[in-house]
């Protein structure tokens, strides 16, 4: 208990401590280090991840599409140690498009037909039958007729006068995904002792959670917006913090997690993810001067004039601009005295004023 109390107290900060600036300095110093030396991780098979400064910028900029989305999927106890069953699930996960199942195709734009040469080996590798493929195609594309002759599938576009339409339709057909979870490009089975787990590139939380045998509570994704849409803002906040901590961890640039947590909090306290920059955290500052000092000076002043904004001069930047004491640190405290108490300090008799 004493240790815990000590730890707890050591984590406290003084009243008026400019934690934001200290956070910015801590993160900033470490990220300049990262520009100079970036550790390149030896890739686990196809597991390409963006790490280092680019990944940090990606998170902090709140980019909707992460360059390399990754998920780690774990399974129920009975399945996790069974390689065959994990492999089965892997097949369910990976996106399979028509393109990967065919050897080639022959287009006849004049007749509006396309001949697809299906590859038997590829189909069995993904455990898909030709019948299923044809079912999927005819149900998803109402404008085409599907017929087959062995492994040759003929696709006939009904409105064959429209050559442009024929072409686009055929491209869509070839790109059509016939099995797997949408957005999941590649799955790799890894092991952790005796248990197996699957690492996939691409992210689709909802789709993966629905698969039988997957433990929904043990899925991890590094796509922050996915976390936001599935689990909500609190989870997204944790995801941001963990991802940033992970970036620094790889680079062996450790720092107090509180700094990272503060950054994640600033990005998410409004209920949505705000980027750090003029479109997010810095752009939403209360003070006109603080915003104008950062970027797009003229725009902010003109808008402030337009809408008759008032600057309460409560932040740091605006007070430095006008030349007042700043409102953090030693400038946070003010000396006050009650009027009636003043009586006590009246000069005593005989003492000069």
């Amino acid at each position: 208990m004493i240790v815990m109390a000590k730890r707890s107290n050591s984590g406290k900060v003084q009243y008026g401590e400019p934690v934001g600036v200290v956070t910015a300095q801590s993160l900033g110093e470490r990220s300049t280090q990262m520009v100079l030396r970036t550790f390149h991780q030896a890739g686990v098979s196809s597991e390409v991840i963006s790490a280092g400064l680019p990944r940090l910028i990606e998170i902090v900029d709140a980019r909707k599409r992460a360059k390399h989305a990754l998920m780690t999927i774990r399974f129920d106890k009975g399945i996790a140690k069974d390689y065959e069953r994990v492999k089965e699930i892997k097949q369910k996960l990976e996106e399979v498009s028509i393109n990967t199942l065919i050897n080639g195709f022959d287009e006849n734009l004049k007749n509006g037909t396309m001949l697809l040469h299906f590859d038997k080996d590829a189909m069995s590798a993904h455990s898909i039958t030709l019948r299923k493929v044809m079912e999927i195609l005819s149900s998803r594309f109402p404008d085409i007729e599907v017929s087959n002759e062995g492994n040759e599938v003929t696709i006939r576009y009904k409105k064959r006068k429209d050559v442009r339409g024929v072409r686009t339709a055929f491209v869509h057909v070839r790109d059509e995904i016939v099995s797997g979870v949408e957005g999941i490009q590649k799955a790799v089975i890894n092991s952790e002792g005796e248990t197996f787990y699957i690492a996939v590139s691409g992210s689709n939380l909802k789709g993966v959670m629905d698969i039988e045998g997957v433990r929904p509570e043990n899925i991890y994704t590094n796509d922050i917006f996915e976390v936001l849409s599935v689990f909500g803002i609190e989870a997204a906040r944790n995801a941001i913090a963990n991802e940033i901590a992970y970036v620094f961890d790889i680079e062996k640039a450790s720092m107090n997690f509180k700094h990272i947590a503060l950054l994640a909090d600033t990005m998410t306290y409004s209920g949505t993810i705000k980027s750090v920059g003029r479109h997010g955290v810095a752009g939403d500052k209360e003070s006109v001067f603080a915003r104008a000092a950062y970027e797009e000076t003229i725009k902010h002043f003109v808008n402030a004039g337009f809408f008759s904004e008032t600057d309460r001069l409560r932040g740091v930047a605006e007070n430095i601009i006008i030349g007042r004491q700043i409102t953090v640190g030693t400038g946070k405290v003010k000396l006050m005295i009650k009027n009636e108490e003043l009586e006590r300090f009246k000069p005593e008799d005989g003492e000069k004023e």
Binding site: Q14, G16, E17, P18, V21, V22, A24, Q25, I298, F301, V302, A304, G305, T310, V316, I320, I321, I322, G323, R324, Q325, I326, T327, V328, G329, T330, G331, K332
Partner: protein, 610 residues
């Protein structure tokens, strides 16, 4: 294809001109004809086996290097010819004309098999290097024993040599370069190299042979600093002149007006008082050998007014010209060395004034050797307090031994040893790259030293100048060729507590010539914010910078001004006089408010009493 591909393509200066059946024989024939003198020696030919192409180059811009031709396993430059060369009967160009030495370009070099030395020639050898040192250029060969130094140190060493103050030209007194240095007592190095001999560099020496002891001195030469003997400086070590040229011209302006070199008359705008122009001669240019200090005017110049005058009732008779004289900037001083008056090609009169100042080595001046061993002077110690040898030699410079091992500049140590041997036997040592083997050199120098009663590795017993006690360990001591580098305290030192401010923002100026301060910028600001040091931050950003008090109207929030006639503050917006308060703000902020007003944005300031 088939048959055609067996033919070898010929390119002349990159243009395909035809084919031959045997490219190698073709190239050999051209070479033979070139050596006979039938073809120009500037032609180079290369047979490229992989492509089956012959490239003949005769264009400009190729870097070429001379080689001695070897035929039948024998150098064509035989003893007989060498004897003629020695007796100056024939010269290098004769050998080139006769095809004994030929210049090869980068492409032809790919076809040869060159021996580095004559005894390495075998039956396959086609060429012989003129000298191993020729693999380097002039600058590399300018350093001594470079093969004993770390590769990465070489560029740094040449960089240093470029910065050395020297005797660069003999007509320095007639020169008007912007900045130049002149070393007063240059010495020829005790160890030289091919470049020194070939380019006669010893006549244009850029350094001095200093007696260097590799030892510490009470911490004054830590972190690459050096300790220098005061008496050595007084004897002239590193003493130099610094020449700076101040130039100006009589510019012509549209409308027929032009500048004039003259002593400005008191009616001129910006006249600085009679006292300021006393050093100028009748022509408005400073007299030669006049002592000038910072702020002194060296060229008096009057320029026409910036804006065209309005016609007054008195006519255009009033002289509105302004003083546009050339002054010495902050921290500059010296003696006027030379004055030149001439004209440009556009018949504009120009004046150049050279001011010379003497530079004695002082704390913070940079010194360096030919082995990228550079350092600033950490302390100047009186001769009595320097260590001395048993024979009474006092070193000029104390070099910290910590600078040597991790930089791997063994050449520096070898130079000390060699130069010490030179001092003993009077023969200038040779530091040409790859001329000798290191062990041979050490043995040779050691023998010379030992014969004269010195330690063969250059170590000596030293005595502490302060106490007279013998130092506990032997100390490596010997002469090193040292440069005085152009980085000098006198040209860089600048401090400021109060000083000039910028006109626009009223913030302190920046940079040495304007005696400016050191900028306190955003990141520095963040550091103070991070510490919560609010008063210190305000001190930096306001009190010590552009503090100003501005009248602000309580009613409308606009800035007012002080009516000096009635002695009351006035608000121009609401015309009131009593509701204004004096508020201390940054002048830059006031400027911002004014600029916003120019954009039709009025920022009202609501005052609140604390």
């Amino acid at each position: 294809m088939g048959k055609e591909s067996a033919l070898c393509t010929i390119f002349v200066d990159g243009k395909n001109i035809g084919r031959v059946s045997d490219g190698a024989a073709f190239a050999t024939e051209i070479r033979a004809n070139r050596r006979k003198g039938l073809l120009s020696g500037e032609i180079n030919v290369a047979f490229i086996k992989e492509l089956n192409e012959v490239h003949i180059n005769a264009d400009k811009g190729r870097v070429r290097k001379p080689y001695i031709v070897v035929e039948n396993g024998k150098s064509k430059l035989d003893d007989q010819l060498m004897e003629k060369v020695r007796s100056k009967e024939i010269d290098f160009n004769y050998l080139v004309r006769r095809g004994i030495i030929e210049y090869l370009d980068a492409e032809e070099e790919e076809n040869i098999y060159a021996a580095m030395r004559e005894n390495e020639i075998n039956s396959k050898t086609t060429h012989l290097e003129v000298d191993p040192a020729i693999m380097f250029g002039v600058t590399v060969n300018g350093s001594v024993f470079p093969e004993f130094n770390s590769v990465g140190k070489h560029p740094l060493a040449w960089q240093l040599m470029k910065q050395a103050q020297a005797l660069p030209v003999m007509n320095f007194s007639n020169r008007f370069g912007a900045r130049s240095f002149l070393l007063h007592y240059p010495q020829a190095p005790l160890i030289d190299s091919v470049t020194y001999r070939a380019a006669n560099l010893s006549k244009h020496a850029n350094g001095q042979n200093l007696i260097v002891a590799v030892t510490t001195y009470h911490g004054y030469n830590m972190s690459d600093a050096v300790v220098v003997n005061r008496a050595s400086i007084e004897r002239g070590i590193g003493r130099s002149s610094f020449f700076k040229t101040y130039a100006d011209e009589e510019r012509r302006y549209p409308g027929g007006q032009q500048d004039r070199f003259t002593i400005p008359s008191p009616t001129v705008e910006g006249y600085e008082g009679e006292q300021a122009y006393t050093k100028l001669g009748e022509d408005g240019i400073v007299e030669e050998e006049m002592e000038v200090n910072e702020g002194d005017i060296v060229i008096g110049k009057v320029s026409p007014p910036r804006f065209l005058e309005e016609q007054t009732a008195f006519g255009a008779g009033i002289d509105k010209s302004r003083d546009n004289s050339v002054k010495l900037k902050a921290g500059e001083s010296g003696v006027v060395d030379n004055v030149m008056v001439t004209e440009t090609s556009g018949a504009t009169k120009i004046v150049k004034v050279v001011v010379r100042s003497e530079m004695f080595p002082e704390h913070g001046d940079k010194m360096g050797s030919r082995h990228a061993q550079k350092g600033v002077i950490g302390s100047i110690i009186p001769q009595e307090e320097m260590p001395f040898t048993s024979s009474g030699i006092v070193p000029d410079l104390l070099l910290n031994p910590m600078g040597l091992p991790n930089r791997m500049t063994a050449g520096h140590i070898l130079e000390m040893l060699g130069a010490k041997a030179t001092c003993v036997n009077g023969i200038i040592g040779d530091g040409t790259p790859f001329a000798r083997k290191g062990n041979d050199l050490i043995k040779e120098y050691g023998d010379v030293l030992e014969r004269s009663g010195y330690d063969r590795y250059g170590n000596e017993m030293l005595y502490d100048g302060r106490t007279g006690r013998r130092l506990k360990s032997e100390i490596f001591i010997g002469p090193v060729y040292y440069f005085r580098l152009s980085q000098m305290t006198k040209l860089k030192l600048q401090v400021r507590s109060r000083g000039p401010v910028q006109i626009l923002t009223r913030q302190p100026t920046e940079g040495k010539p304007r005696s400016g301060g050191i900028r306190f910028e955003e990141m520095q600001r963040d550091a103070l914010v991070g510490h919560g040091a609010s008063i210190l931050l305000k001190d930096r950003m306001l009190d010590q910078s552009d503090k100003d008090s501005v009248w602000i109207c309580r009613e409308c929030g606009d800035t007012g001004y002080m009516d000096r006639v009635k002695n009351v503050p006035v608000c121009p917006m609401c015309g009131g006089t009593s509701k204004l308060e004096s508020v201390e703000i940054s002048y830059a902020f006031k400027l911002l408010l004014d600029e916003l007003k120019s954009m039709h944005i009025l920022a009202r300031i609501n005052l609140k009493s604390d």
